[in-house]
Symmetry: C2
Subunit: 390 residues, 2 copies
Amino acid sequence: MQNFTFQNSTKVIFGRDKEKTVGTEVKEYSDHVLLHYGGGSIKKYGVYDDVIDSLEEAGVEVTELGGVQPNPRLSLVEEGIEICREKDIDFILAVGGGSVIDSAKSIAAGVPYEGDVWDFFAGEAEIETALPVGTVLTIPAAGSETSPAAVVTNEEEDLKWDIGSNKLRPQFSILNPEITYTLPDYQTACGAADMMAHIMERYFTKTEDVELTDKLCAGTLRTIINNTPCALKEPKNYDARAEIMWAGTIAHNDLLGTGREEDWASHAIEHELSALYDVAHGAGLAVIFPAWMEYVHQEHVERFAQFAVDVWNVDPDFYNVEQTAKKGIEKTREFFSSIGLPVSLEELGVPTNKLEEMADKCTSGGPVGNFKSLDKEDVFRIYKLSQNKR
Amino acid sequence: MQNFTFQNSTKVIFGRDKEKTVGTEVKEYSDHVLLHYGGGSIKKYGVYDDVIDSLEEAGVEVTELGGVQPNPRLSLVEEGIEICREKDIDFILAVGGGSVIDSAKSIAAGVPYEGDVWDFFAGEAEIETALPVGTVLTIPAAGSETSPAAVVTNEEEDLKWDIGSNKLRPQFSILNPEITYTLPDYQTACGAADMMAHIMERYFTKTEDVELTDKLCAGTLRTIINNTPCALKEPKNYDARAEIMWAGTIAHNDLLGTGREEDWASHAIEHELSALYDVAHGAGLAVIFPAWMEYVHQEHVERFAQFAVDVWNVDPDFYNVEQTAKKGIEKTREFFSSIGLPVSLEELGVPTNKLEEMADKCTSGGPVGNFKSLDKEDVFRIYKLSQNKR
């Protein structure tokens, strides 16, 4: 086990109707918030009204900024920063999924900073302070509701880059599983793939003797695997939705990575896809992760065999560790496919004429991944492996 | 799953040599601390010197108060409160195990309070503010390093009562597994029983559909079960010590109880033992918990069968759920015995002439436990069940 520091202060408020308490939570911090959200779904299904009512009741003034798109855009972040400065707003309330929360965090980082907010993403400045952020989560997937990270797309330069700082962890996040009843199946499935990927990026490590976190990772993965088909079949099954929602937070609140070297190559490889073709991040991961697994599994085949047994109930075959390992990879791909996700670039609808360019961009800052360090050629091969369904 | 709120802000600093950074951590809060500790072991094994050196280097003034005993005494808490007031001390640094940390938390609650600190334990006052506390953990067991709770013994009245408030969670806790190399076997074993009990108090619930936390509980229990025999055999095995130490924190940082009704009868029943006979809390739990299991298992036998399969690898027998359940109870008792713990009052060296008095005291505030509500007669029977080894 490696040395580590772990601190996650976000207050999680979980359960039925909890979004109706948001005013009280916000009021602890602010009298005037930027209410940040995406498209029309929060208005269509009543969340918007509940939040507005609660804020009003608590006497909190609201300035709205909607329109966050999946793979949130830098231009909207810049607009948010301007609004907050003009109106002296000192709290950002994000009502939405990971894209909305990431956009909110980026605004929060940008408001008190004199330079260009993209400096943080480009690694040219450190986040020293940020406005406080609160969230009402509507899509369990990204884990951004308690994480220190945010990913934003610079649409002018086709770059999808991230920032991370403990200063960006939300002060509170409200999670009501009922709000997720109306999610389209595809979004439910993409969310499952995203949270599974967050765990797998941590599970696939070369750090030895990490039994506790191995077991916590496996337990969280199995919970997602068990409950996602149920939520797809019965979208209003509270318990399935609740297991998935809480698992999505645990997947990315940093606990599961304590004491371990983490990987994160698959995320880097996927980000090039969604930066260029605007595909759903979870769908991109469902394509890339199994291809990455195939490409790297021989690096430490025991870990992949352990994964197959602990997560997928594959019978352990110590006479043929490679075969045990491969069954786990196959099960992962089959699961993604079974919940309606694409498992090849072809199914994802991504053309293959820019694979080399993407591999180049992906490794522009040097090799990616820790389980196996991947250079441009490796990344290109992983894109090629994911080209057609097998 | 039930609604819940979860927030645990304690910064955990984990790994080799980390106690040598304590001065930097403390300096964020204070220039003058009360250094609170127990007997001579921290001086014998060098932890004391490392802490003093680090505080000195950071320019932090130190006032010492040693002498905390297991089952920490109210009188010493009162002494600590006086010292802090007299010397204007605004931070308590606990270097020790759960007793030292609990004593430190109680001092922290008492200093700013005008009344008698026992008021908080007696439920006659609410903790509205407290001094900040930091810890260097030397015994993985109680989980007090990130928990909101403290247990103190009022030696004049033979009462062992507890307080709980988010205001009592330590600001930081430093966990270096190397410090635990010198723990006597009995203390290592008592620690394992204590942390296992913290998980089992949460595992045994009547709340249904709590799959994620069930799996996190089982994974943490199995980690303790796998690593404790190894730490006993090889006291300087870093990885075994690290797994146990981190598991002890996870066991009681509130995550494993999210969304579940918890039980806590066994703790209440054990507290009477250690209040009266000053036995080690973990040893008392090793005696009481299996007896409690036997007494209550028919209340919800499926849960005990699940426990047997998920935690102890018992083969599931759906034709004989009761038998599956009982095997799990037997395995629990056998495990405690195998690591050198007593599993009966007789082995614990506790006389049996006051069982009725203890049962009376235990239920003086009403029935205990949620899995099955236990009145005086029930508690008495559990004491009787634990009288002799079976």
